[in-house]
């Protein structure tokens, strides 16, 4: 290394409170001028040891913990947890509950995508979109509040079904919100997505090739932006996805902009799915009672379940030794891949002003990494 290089090379610490970064996340970057030489991520600012905590708690108590593993998109956690227990214990779920769960999952996906669209734009300095999408996301939070009693954490899906049925008139209000969000999409387009400044800032940034994506194990919108139409909802349908009509949008460029577009298109698909659910949902009970949760023992066994979360393929591996608490719950979300390996790869060689955008466009969720 020459003398000059030594002077120009420096280390930069970003996070954990950097406004361009989702939650408690940080990077240690090596830079040469504006160019990122390498980056090391650290997701450990939200460490609560979810997996370990779960081993110490009754099966029922964990339903209040799992949602915390992904703040913007908590419901796939609840869904995975409930389904894993159901699979091990052989618990049937009433049909209506399957539909409600699907609804909840799609609403959660939309809320998360709105969050990420706004956040993504904000990393390029376009904060107005963030203000809009987050305010619009609030309409979905309101639906959650009505259905589950909680806005951010829903603690709603539990083994055997869901905790409460629709309140009166809920379906109608869901449709109203869908109409509203649908009406807002052109506004988003005008403001950011079709904004030539944004296009310029997002094009060619954080490019993942199809081959890289496959070999790195990328999933979800990040993978679909590279031209691979993979989606657990289609490939291994759960709940009632096989009874619904929807498409898997893809792009081919694999850059930050393509990822934005995929999420934007998925919003449309989700609106479409939600409308079908409200139209077709059967009536009936929403929960098959589980035994007294304080004494409940789940038979020995294991289960691997997965959902398609807003981030990608999201899996739980659960082992029960026949006791009252899970013996082990392993949580594997797409963020571990996207937020660590992929991100570190993409950052190396990028420019400092794009670092936040790259990260946001990957839409990784830190607690999912450090769980």
């Amino acid at each position: 290394m020459s003398k000059i290089d030594e002077v120009r090379d420096y280390e930069l610490f970003i996070g954990p409170n950097h406004p361009g970064i989702a939650g408690n996340y940080s990077f240690k970057m090596k830079l040469r001028g504006d160019k990122v030489l390498s980056a090391k991520t650290d997701a450990g600012y939200l460490h609560r040891g979810f997996e370990k905590l779960m081993e110490e708690r009754l099966f029922i108590q964990n339903i209040a913990i799992v949602c915390r593993i992904c703040v913007p998109d908590p419901d796939p956690n609840e869904n995975n947890y409930a389904r894993a227990v159901e699979e091990i214990a052989g618990i049937e779920v009433p049909e209506r509950a399957h539909w409600i769960r699907t609804l909840v999952l799609e609403l959660s996906r939309m809320a998360s995508h709105l969050f990420s669209l706004g956040g993504h734009a904000a990393t390029t300095g376009l904060y107005v979109l963030a203000n809009w999408t987050i305010a619009d996301r609030d309409r979905i939070m309101e639906l959650f509040e009505e259905l589950t009693g909680g806005r951010v954490y829903h603690i709603y899906q539990l083994p055997g079904g869901v905790r409460r049925d629709f309140p009166d008139g809920f379906g109608r209000r869901v449709l109203e919100v869908m109409d509203y969000i649908e009406s807002r999409l052109p506004d988003y387009d005008d403001l950011a997505i079709n904004n030539s400044l944004f296009i310029k800032r997002a094009t060619g940034i954080g490019v993942i090739t199809k081959e890289q994506a496959i070999s790195w194990g990328v999933t979800g919108p990040n993978l679909r932006a590279c031209g691979v139409a993979a989606d657990v909802r289609k490939d291994d349908p759960y709940e009632v996805y096989d009874k619904l009509d929807f498409e898997i949008p893809t792009m081919t460029e694999g850059d930050s902009y393509a990822r934005m577009i995929v999420r934007r298109k998925e919003l449309v698909q989700s609106i479409n799915i939600v409308r079908q659910i409200i139209d077709k949902i059967p009536s009936g009970p929403v929960w098959n009672k589980i035994p007294n949760p304080l004494k409940w023992k789940v038979p020995a066994g294991d289960a691997y379940v997965r959902t398609e979360s807003s981030k990608g393929e999201y899996a739980y591996y659960m082992v029960s030794d026949g006791g009252r608490k899970p013996y082990r719950v392993h949580v594997r979300g797409a963020s571990t891949t996207h937020g660590v390996h992929v991100l570190e790869n993409l950052l190396a060689g990028s420019r400092i002003e794009d670092a936040s955008q790259i990260m946001f466009s990957l839409d990784a969720c830190p607690p999912e990494v450090d769980r």
Binding site: R57, L58, I60, Q61, N62, I63, A64, I65, V128, A135, D138, E142, E145, E146, L147, T148, G149, G150, Y153, I155, R163, R164, D165, P167, L185, D187, D189, D190, L191, A192, I193, N194, N195, S196, L197, F198, I199, K200, T203, M251, Y257, I261, R264, K265, P285, V286, W287, K289, I290, P291, N292, P293, L294, K295, W296
Partner: protein, 746 residues
């Protein structure tokens, strides 16, 4: 959306159309946004409805709920004086507590704002007025569809009326393992039942053990306070079930049947192993017990375990008192009773049957030959209505007939019988005689009449229903006037309508309508209106004993004014088996206290328990230190480590005793003093023979460590305080590790 990435620089300016819109986020002046009706906001708790079972605290995944004692609130049957207080610094608003609440008293409101820089204000005590005493609509509420509890009992199979009508075979069939486990799984381990049980049985603990299919543990827990579990598993008056918190909205746990299941499932020859019984110290002192009913047997069992010689005197040919000679076989088969009694004999209690005190043995002799005498002779003299005709030879006392049936003697069974009485004893004799009638005549013709109308008849509803099914006919609400006799033969019982049984002060003072007359036909009349004691064996002593009203004066250990005389059972505190057992046990503790002349043997608070355990650890350490360097190197290493460990344990216990935060909870009453008492026996300083062999020494140490292990194990389960639970858990683990090590060396 621009997939071809041809953007425009002007389009963003379209956003200007929103320039006049009202912003969505700023609200001035500040106002609470209204919430959805199902919102999970601050809790409310209907303090009247709440029974303080603590199930909410149990399910809370954040340990946010602490049950606190409410000043001025008295605990009552089925309700403690604790109520939940919530730490909103911990609460995550999951509402699991709402969905598990046994009474539905705990709900949430739509209130969600609390601003304060004083952290203590986040620890709140919700009542029905809300945390800020401002009314908010209810939010997330308990719902029948989503309730976590199992409210329905596992059904118990019974013989049908046809199957049982002419036989004395036991009616209730008992749970299978699957049924018992399913029933056990409904329990929320709140312990309200324990508070209500006269013997304070470790109910949640044994139910838990049944659920874990660990029958030995269930048996061990049961035997701690009840040496007649086969009996109680069948005929106990089960006050605990009245208190059960699941009974608030559903059917209470079948505690009695669960106990029966556990004891039926354990073979008699395993009882000894399960209880791991060793007579603690042969003391060379002896106790005479008069009467082998539940009270006498219970006292005998526990006294024997403490190391006393116990001799029981029983006037009947076999032990058991009213359990054998009163309660009919179809409710309590003799082999079940014998299983219990045989075990009591096995631990070394001597029972002299066919020996009436006052006739075959002099009461004075007992006083002379034994250190203490306990009398538990029960109520064996039937009371008479004394209406004209009751001196006829075909008028009988229920308990005389019942005891004759047990003895297998011939009794008179006429075709038409009238039974007077509305209690359970009347049901027992009526149903027994109905069986005899069916055996003899192929049909039942039996009338039961009582002063009380049907709604206030003291007998259990099931008894009345089953008696009806078996053919008994009821004439409740009628008072006997005379037994009509013609030519020396009974024709029936003349009755008047009874208008009221009690006067305004709830005193017994029946009023009759003399114009409403009815003759209940029968050629034989059985009186069953109550029993009284016969304590003539006391002789002159009865004049010397201090009285408290009509009863003997006793202290809390049922010790009379003559310090060598204790009293238990129906004659001091009835009216059922479990009260007999509880009083017998308590008397045994009192006798021990007296004979040992110990002060302060009863420590009731956890604080005292901690002090005792500190002393225990100190003693162990000192005793071990004396032998340092005396034995082989392996053992010596172990000793040195044990001494070090003791120091560590002492430090930990001390730290907790001195911690003011924990201290607040330390004066909680220990519910079951007998646990502590057991502990006490090992705290006594003992002198170990200096020349003890290595092996004997090891055995001694092993015994101590094992005892400590058992105690810490129990204490860990007993306390509801987290810090204490942790400490006792830790102590237990240490002892367990030591135990394993010693075992290897032995």
């Amino acid at each position: 959306m621009s997939e071809n990435r041809k953007g425009s620089i002007l389009k963003p300016f379209k956003a200007l159309k929103f320039i006049g819109e009202k912003p969505v986020t700023i609200r001035t002046p500040f106002e609470n946004r209204p919430t959805a009706p199902r919102y999970r906001g601050f809790h409310v708790n209907d303090q009247e409805k709440c029974i303080g079972c603590g199930t909410c605290a149990e399910i809370c995944d954040n340990d946010a709920i602490r049950m606190i004692e409410v000043p001025g609130l008295e605990p009552k049957v089925g309700a403690s004086n604790l109520r939940p207080a919530i730490d909103y610094g911990r609460c995550c608003w999951c509402a699991l507590c709402v969905d598990v609440c046994t009474t539905n008293s705990l709900n949430m409101t739509q209130e969600y704002t609390h601003v304060s820089d004083d952290l203590d204000t986040f620890f709140m005590f919700p009542d029905s007025e809300g945390i800020h005493k401002v009314e908010f609509p209810l939010g997330y509420q308990a719902s029948e569809d989503s309730n976590f509890l199992d409210l329905e009992r596992v059904e118990m199979e019974e013989l049908s009326a046809e199957e049982r009508g002419d036989s004395f075979v036991e009616i209730v069939k008992g749970f299978s393992k699957e049924q018992a486990m399913a029933e056990a799984s409904r329990c929320v381990a709140c312990g309200l039942c324990t508070d209500t049980c006269p013997a304070h049985m470790n109910i949640p603990e044994y139910i838990e053990a049944i659920w874990d299919d660990n029958l030995s543990e269930a048996g061990r827990q049961i035997y701690k306070t009840n040496p007649l579990p086969e009996v109680c598993g069948r005929v106990c008056t089960h006050k605990c079930e009245t208190a059960c918190s699941i009974g608030q909205r559903g059917e209470p746990i079948a505690i009695r049947w669960l106990k029966r299941y556990a004891m039926d499932a354990i073979p008699a020859d395993q009882y000894g192993d399960i209880n791991n019984l060793k007579v603690v110290k042969p003391l060379g002192k002896s106790v005479a017990i008069v009467g082998s009913g539940p009270a006498g047997l219970s006292a005998a069992y526990y006294l024997r375990l403490m190391g006393y010689k116990v001799v029981m005197f029983e006037k009947y040919p076999e032990p058991g008192g009213m359990m054998r000679y009163g309660i009919p076989e179809y409710r309590l088969p003799y082999d079940a009773l014998d299983k219990d009694i045989n075990y009591i004999k096995e631990v070394g209690v001597e029972i002299k049957c066919n020996t009436t005190v006052g006739k075959d043995v002099n009461f004075d002799d007992l006083h002379r030959d034994f250190d203490v005498v306990l009398i538990a002779t029960g109520f064996h003299v039937g009371r008479s209505t004394r209406v004209p005709g009751t001196d006829h030879k075909d008028v009988f006392q229920a308990i005389d007939l019942l005891s004759k049936i047990t003895k297998g003697e011939d009794i008179k069974v006429d075709e038409k019988i009238v039974v007077i009485g509305g209690g359970n004893v009347a049901m027992d004799i009526a149903r027994s005689l109905a069986r005899k009638q069916r055996q003899k005549y192929g049909k039942v013709n039996l009338i039961v009449t009582s002063l009380e109308s049907r709604d206030i008849m003291p007998a259990d509803d099931e008894e009345i229903e089953e008696a009806t099914e078996e053919g008994c006919v009821f004439y409740p609400g009628r008072g006997p006037v005379e037994i009509v006799i013609e030519d020396g033969k009974i024709q029936g019982l003349k009755t008047n309508k009874c208008v009221s049984v009690f006067d305004e002060q709830h005193r017994f003072s029946p009023k009759f309508d003399e114009n409403d007359i009815k003759l209940l036909e029968g050629t034989m009349v059985v009186e069953s209106i109550g029993q009284g004691p016969d304590m003539s064996y006391l002789g002159d002593y009865s004049d010397k004993l201090e009285m408290d009203g009509r009863r003997m004066k006793v202290n809390e250990f049922y010790q009379t004014s003559m310090d060598w005389l204790f009293i238990a059972g129906d004659i001091i505190k009835g009216p059922d088996v479990i009260n007999g057992i509880a009083v017998g046990h308590q008397a045994a503790l009192g006798i021990d206290k007296m004979l040992e002349k110990k002060h302060d043997i009863f420590f009731h608070s956890i604080f005292q328990v901690l002090s005792k355990s500190l002393k225990f650890e100190e003693n162990c350490r000192k005793s071990n230190a004396k032998f340092e360097g005396k034995f082989s190197p392996v053992i010596n290493t172990m000793l040195v480590e044990m001494i070090k460990k003791s120091e560590d344990l002492e430090k930990r216990i001390k730290r907790l005793i001195e911690n003011p935060n924990v201290l607040i909870h330390l004066d909680e009453k220990l519910k079951r003093p007998q646990e502590a008492d057991y502990f006490e026996r090992f705290v006594v300083e003992e002198t170990v023979d200096e020349n003890i062999s290595e092996k004997d020494f090891l055995k001694l140490v092993e015994k101590k460590v094992r005892t400590a292990f058992g105690l810490y194990h129990d204490l860990e389960k007993l306390t509801k305080n987290k810090e204490l639970e942790f400490l006792f858990g830790y102590l237990k683990d240490q002892k367990k590790a030591q135990l394993e090590r010693i075992k290897k060396l032995l």
